[in-house]
């Protein structure tokens, strides 16, 4: 059923689609302050996240250990570096997305930095060292349970990593 269908004198330049809200019908109509999501469901979801946040340091430690393994393998088998750095990039991507959600924005910050640092076509010795500096920084955050911005410790960790990146970036 269209307005223009009756007398289409001019070529249609803009078409607006006003669709039925099937998603709302499916979600049960809704209403209330929280819209279609019940307050108790939201509370349950938040509780689930809080529980995960408690486990986050242990959980992220497995990623850190994985990165240490990738680093060792980069040192031992240089011919595999390109493949290994692809894996490093994937892990870094996950870490940067999760840290902030669980109260560890420094992990997100270092994860983001590692994500960018691991996007290289040819992996040089300096890149492997930069990887190590990132993993050490993240390990320090988790071992010391440095949550939030980390205050003085956070500033120190950021500075240490930046110095390492600068040192190895100019090394080759």
């Amino acid at each position: 059923m269209t307005k223009a269908a009756a007398g289409n004198k001019k070529r249609v330049q803009v078409r607006y689609y006003k669709l039925r809200n099937r998603l709302k019908e499916k979600a049960g109509g809704g209403g209330g302050a929280r819209g279609t999501i019940a307050a108790d469901a939201l509370e349950a979801a938040e509780a689930e996240f809080e529980k995960m946040a408690e486990d986050y340091p242990d959980w992220v430690q497995t990623h850190i250990n994985e990165l240490y393994t990738f680093h060792r393998r980069c040192v031992d088998t240089p011919e595999d570096r390109t493949k290994l750095f692809k894996r490093v990039n994937e892990v870094a991507h996950d870490m940067r997305g999760q840290g902030g959600t669980f109260g560890y924005p420094l992990i997100s910050h270092f994860g983001d930095s590692l994500y960018e640092a691991s996007r290289v076509e040819t992996v040089l010795d300096s890149h492997v060292e930069i990887l190590k500096a990132h993993v050490d920084a993240m390990n320090a955050v988790i071992k010391g349970r440095v949550n939030g911005d980390g205050g003085e410790v956070g500033i120190e960790l950021r500075k240490t990593l930046e110095t390492a990146i600068e040192k190895y970036s100019t090394a080759e």
Binding site: Q13, Y16, N21, G35, E90
Partner: protein
């Protein structure tokens, strides 16, 4: 991110969640859904939540396929992009390709719930012009203060309004 989002959605009461490793796998599922829903493991999809940064097919490429490809099973499907990108240029790029909502990382359960409510409770009409297809980029309830670039109204001859 995917496991985190799955947990959040399930806890918020979303019944069925189908996941894909990257945009390419998502496209395969969507394509298969039209031809062989049993094999696809899904009959219909109500909303897509996609990470922006994925490899080899990223969220933007998936969005483009959903909105423009002739094999897309539903070009009107709400598309929520999850991203760490905060710069305006990136957001505008996604907007021009027909994104429904953006969810910034890191996200909380409340952020996810807010975006879902936005999609469910306040859907926007779709606009199709020679250069754009997607949700109306001008949110109806918000006053527009920029230069008026819309030359036609719904009453003009060059405008067609489609209801379903």
């Amino acid at each position: 991110m995917r496991s985190l989002m799955t947990i959040a959605l399930k806890a918020l009461g979303v019944g069925m969640i189908k996941t894909a490793d990257d945009g390419g796998e998502a496209i395969e599922i969507l394509r298969l859904m039209s031809t062989d829903p049993m094999k696809a493991g899904v009959m219909s999809i109500d909303i897509i939540l996609s990470n922006w940064q994925m490899s080899p097919v990223d969220g933007l490429m998936l969005l483009r396929w959903v909105r423009r490809h002739k094999e897309s099973p539903d070009r009107f499907i709400p598309f929520l992009m999850v991203t760490g990108y905060a710069d305006r240029e990136k957001v505008m790029e996604a907007r021009e390709l027909g994104i429904t909502e953006i969810l910034a990382k890191p996200f909380s359960v409340q952020n996810v719930a807010d975006r879902l409510i936005q999609v469910i409770e306040r859907p926007r009409q779709f606009v199709h012009t020679s250069s754009y297809f997607g949700p109306d980029r001008r949110r109806q309830e918000m006053p527009y203060s920029g230069e008026e670039r819309r030359k036609l109204t719904e009453e003009d001859e060059g405008v067609e309004v489609v209801y379903d």
